[in-house]
Symmetry: C2
Subunit: 359 residues, 2 copies
């Protein structure tokens, strides 16, 4: 099977670029002296997770119990769920999962830790917890100054063990150029390290200090005290990441689409709409980037329609084009599978193993 | 199984409201004197499509061959694909599908019609075509004044039969109140009828003149010459539709979510992020509406995080809340299934049969 034989819209992953991205991040982590625990939300695929493990990752990061279960069943033995799980269903399944693999889960409240402790008691198991620290993203997590209070409040609870702190410094994506992005990432990492120190000073054995999103890691942000990186997007990269450290040649995943309509001069409709590209856009770029027509803009997406404005001879009816998506994680999450393109041009279909597993 | 026994995030459909919505639209179409051909993209489920057929629909509308195939296999015998299909894969499968059910496909170019004609010849079948008319949405479709030129250009092609015209007057969603929305919808419908008339005057036997999106149909827009409505969203309704004709009590689908974090006074994190609610928002309302806390706002969605700002006692950690999504079609498209809630409070899980079928 080759690219001209598959239907559109389809996602195509260049295997060589994928491998290079996986190896590059493994080298960067090794050079900086941190463990690498990639977030698999970007690919949701067992085989790619194993490629990451083989390149030196110490384990993986997931967002849901369902994702973690797929990965554990697929053979990954060390999993961190970087999300403040709360529901009974999640707690029950986490306790089961804890028997299948080395599991760590995130939390940010006394109440959640109490529930983990109770479930641990029922499941006769001990769970490792990592505290979520808010280093400026203002999403979940406690402020660094409040970390000690939370740790102290759960100190005596049985069946749980506080072993780490984590942050997601997503707010540095607000930067539009590399230097300010790296400064923001560094500042966040330093705050995380301070939180870890405040806990250690009171006797908590914090072994993992985990930060890192793709551009900060690609920029080799080095902060003393950080022990672990959790980047996700780097396996494929996307238009959002292209504004920072990486280039077009580092983008492993592209959407193959067909121009299905050219109803007016300069207006082209492709069969990749929001059900393929997702709904997000990047200011100045629209809903994706067309390497074959860099000045063209996907100005709008409806569910099955990508609406492109371009010079009237930039594209043509029936043409197949490749699109670099704005945010690749949301694109993969919409798709049942993707094609892996090998150096000889042949394609292999891979399922998105953990697609739609929101529990 | 009852609501308090299922994991979150989950989609819950109130069966009684669903039935009322299906019957209400069937009555409206009957009263106005048009055929009803609902777009199944909203639910993508065979059983709900059959409920629509049993209530009097003449057939269904789909967006892709994959959706149409699922529905034909499920027993729906009359299907319109309201999309300008172009690829070889789509054409081949459409020709096969044409043997399974009464199929009509949309087109907006001579080239596409030529390809349908060639495939029809190979598949020894005749395909019914409907021309897409651009009535102001500026997406696909030819302008009403250009309809005759396109029809004439394909007149002699064998194995295809031009039998209808269609428009999607999506641009009237730009209105923010009912009266201007209905005016815009009426204007679009009139343009469509004019296009049909221009073809009939030259001898084309146009039997179907198909328009209609949910709010225009709920408002019972009546334009002489329109023969068919294709609303989709009305089965479930959503926050976008609530600004027009329908009310909160008409919303059949809600997202059940859990408050998993309350990291700061007035900031709450729910486990429904963009992977559940999709990425869209409605100005002034954010990413969904909380009937239990009408003043709360989902101000941001990350993949697994819905970030809510509310009064500090409006919600509480661990609470389960219901969310009315902004655009229900994109929400269903993300999900593998939903729960049907019956009058006795019991739940039944239904798969989203045609999820992710972008081909």
């Amino acid at each position: 099977m080759r690219k001209n034989q598959i239907p559109t819209p389809s996602l195509i992953i260049n295997l060589e670029v994928l491998k290079r991205n996986i190896e590059g991040m493994a080298s960067a982590a090794s050079d900086v002296g941190v463990n690498l625990r990639p977030h698999i939300k970007t690919h949701k695929n067992i085989r790619i997770a194993k490629m990451q493990m083989e390149a030196g990752a110490v384990g993986i990061t997931c967002a849901t119990i369902g994702e973690a279960d797929v990965m554990a069943t697929g053979g990954i033995s060390d999993i961190f769920i970087a999300y403040p799980l709360f529901g009974d269903y999640q707690l029950t399944r986490a306790a089961e999962l804890n028997k299948k693999c080395r599991l760590t889960v995130a939390f940010d409240s006394t109440l959640a830790a109490q529930r983990w402790s109770e479930w641990g008691a029922r499941a006769t198991t001990e769970l490792s917890l990592a505290m979520i620290i808010n280093t400026g993203g203002n999403r979940d997590g406690v402020l660094p100054k409040d970390a000690l209070e939370l740790a102290t409040s759960i100190e005596d609870l049985p069946h749980i063990k506080l072993m780490g702190v984590m942050t997601h410094e997503g707010h540095m994506h607000q930067s539009t150029e590399t230097e300010s992005m790296l400064s923001a990432a560094k500042l966040a990492a330093k705050q995380l390290v301070l939180a870890a120190e405040s806990l250690r000073q009171e006797g908590f054995a914090i072994t993992t200090v985990s930060s890192g999103s793709t551009p900060a890691c690609q920029g080799r942000t080095q902060v003393a005290g950080i022990t672990e990186w959790r980047p996700g997007t780097y396996v494929f990269n996307d238009l959002n990441e292209m504004q920072f450290v990486i280039g077009e040649e580092d983008v492993a995943l592209r959407v193959l689409a067909t121009v299905v309509s050219n109803p007016a001069p300069g207006r082209f409709i492709v069969d990749a709409g929001s059900k393929v590209l997702s709904e997000g856009s990047r200011p100045g770029f629209g809903h994706g980037f067309l390497p074959c027509a860099p000045e063209a803009r996907i100005v709008k997406v409806n569910e099955e329609h990508g609406i492109i404005e371009a010079k009237q001879d930039a594209l043509s009816l029936g043409q197949r084009i490749e699109i670099i998506p704005v945010h690749v994680c949301t694109v993969v999450n919409l798709s049942n599978g993707y094609y892996l393109e090998k150096p000889d041009g042949s394609l292999e279909y891979l399922a998105v193993d953990a697609r739609g597993l929101v529990w």
